[in-house]
Amino acid sequence: MKIRKYCKIDREFVVIDGALYPFPKEEGTHFLTALYRALSVDYPKFHKMDTLSKLGFLASELIFREEDENILMFDNMAIICFNRSSSLEYDTKFQDSIEAQNYYPSPSVFVYTLPNIVTGEIAIRNKLYGETSFYITPHFDAVQMVRTVENAFQDRDTQSVLAAWIEAYEETQEVLMMWVEQGKDGGMPFLAENINTLYNKSF
């Protein structure tokens, strides 16, 4: 397995395949909104998403935006995401809205109280009909990621996997998304040590 392309977004930097992706940061605008504007995509639904989905959406945009749609084997692409805090950011938000004092639970907040909505958002945007799954692990675990992706390739239908660590809770907002394919040529080997390097490397 090899990493065909990767994207990393955190509060400091946006990196695509090892190169910094510069974008203007405006005072008072959330950095994810600023990045969305810099990409000049027309997808107003972005503003309705929770942070997990925004991170997943932007990383997948950065990975796919310059790809020729015809060569993408989207039908056979699986999306497998991992994180530590599930959808706790929106869980808390929803919980606050069902407290007795100000009881107006919001349907659009409840929708995002599931971690796997982000896999759905990426699939909707890119018309991916393949497998999607979400695993919750105690911490960033590259070994577990490799095992799980390897397992997904056990199905011969699966030709590539969009694998991502996406975490959004309190001070942490980060995504490391990797487009993984079978074979060796034309990419960095999809090995735990390489994934750890990508995750820990600062720019």
């Binding site: 909104t33 107003p44 639904k45 503003h47 309705k48 107006y104 639970p105 919001s106 349907p107 659009s108 929708v111």
Partner: protein, 85 residues
Amino acid sequence: MEELILKLKKEIIEVLNLEDVKPEEIDANAPLFVDGLGLDSIDALELIVLMEKNYGIKLKDASQGKEIFKSVAVMAEYIQANRTK
């Protein structure tokens, strides 16, 4: 009525997170769903919450929204006639 329509437009923009839309860009007589603002079933539910929270109108069934959310003008008329706060 004009005042209520403008107020409603602002409220809709806020609760539906229509970041890039300005009140004057919403045609009060244009359909809210079907193309227009690109709203979906969750947005409709959010409008039902808005009517309850801000105007004290409680809908029992989500399908009632279909008639009421035809346009901002229709919505304003319904609110005018049925509001309890």
